[in-house]
Point group: C2
Chain length 226, copies 2
């Protein structure tokens, strides 16, 4: 593995950028445990929020790193709610198609008055896009709620990353994702509290990609973590 | 002003989305003062981070809202550091060209080993892109440091939004922006501490656009705030 590949998910390719990325993750690891694969999501959350305490706000269910990294290795689609989250997904270290929901389901949104994101999730689900995919919701609580409905109706994503931020419906939407993940054994990473957002969602998804790279390089054995 | 226009910067167009956006900002305003134009940046920071305490981490220098909103009304370019920040800038309520630095200056980065973002800022500055523009740095500390160098060398952006996140150089880069903003009277909004990021940078920039819309609609008079 070249140094470039090692930091693919941090977006660093030049020497200075790699030095910053390496020092930064070293600092994170002095504050966040490095014992389980799920700890990597906690580390990444701290890294992307700049907040050491954020490690305690992350919730992992049904081994999301194992399942998410497998989906990356299988080149399953990564489906984000909005453009900004899609823009944050690294282009390197994977061959997964990266799609966004927003832009679909405009008719449904106009007819019903539901949010564009919720309508777009329902529309993509009708096309089967979420089946086996990594479903990422970084912004829209109603998108997460719609995704939960799709799962209740039979859809089985490989893993969910859900971190909508804010004061209205955000916490509630992540709580619903956790309930549905429990009920239907869906691997999921979410956070508790009102914080979260697109940057966090992209960072957590990029960590799944990074773990997949480590599997490919023989540095991580997923079967040891099941 | 239609309701759609009122929430243009929150990305809400359907009834449900507008209800969420309106309720959410109402909650924010119960916790954050609404007295000065700069308070709108504090409100927006709280809204986008989901953290009421974030209002205390925002620093405004030289009236960034007045200068930023004027730049929007004058259709000056909005120049972001990375793609993710660009993706977060609303397309509605303004006719500013939105550019990103990343992707420029690849040769300089390869030659010198500096980060791609720093090299891209220096390259765009050589082309005069930052003069009179809204300069937004949401991710890369070295991009903010490069921008400070450009200002020291004579470039005068209309306003700076700088919120790099993380444990290495992020705080330091924002401190340098604040020093340079003081020294050269550049309007700037930054945050203190290790937090920040692309979502915050995009949200603060969108608030400048929102204020410009309010000026256009006769709801805000910038001359009263100078």
């Amino acid at each position: 593995m070249t140094e470039n590949e090692a930091y693919a998910d941090l977006g660093a390719t030049t020497q200075e950028a790699m030095d910053i990325a390496e020092t930064s993750m070293d600092i994170v690891r002095t504050f966040v445990p490095d014992e389980t694969l799920n700890d990597r999501l906690r580390q990444k959350a701290v890294h992307s929020t700049g907040d050491i305490e954020f490690q305690h706000l992350i919730r992992c269910q049904n081994n999301p790193v194992v399942s998410g990294a497998r989906a990356v290795l299988d080149e399953q689609p990564i489906v984000t709610d909005i453009t900004m989250v899609k823009a944050g997904i690294t282009g390197r270290g994977h061959d997964c198609p990266v799609k966004k929901a927003i832009g679909n389901g405009a008719e449904l949104a106009a007819e019903t008055g539901m949010t564009r994101t919720a309508a777009s999730v329902l529309e993509l689900d009708k096309q089967g896009v979420y089946e086996g995919a990594i479903a990422v919701v970084g912004n829209a609580p109603t998108g997460a709620l719609a995704l939960a409905d799709c799962i209740e109706n039979g859809t089985r994503p490989a893993a969910i990353v859900a971190t909508p931020v804010g004061f209205v419906k955000a916490e509630e939407s992540r709580k619903r994702i956790r309930e549905i993940a429990d009920e239907y054994d869906i691997p999921a990473v979410t956070n508790v509290g009102k914080r979260g957002g697109s940057g966090l969602a992209a960072a957590l998804t990029n960590e799944l990609i990074h773990v997949a790279s480590d599997v490919r390089d023989g540095e991580v054995d997923l079967t040891a973590h099941e």
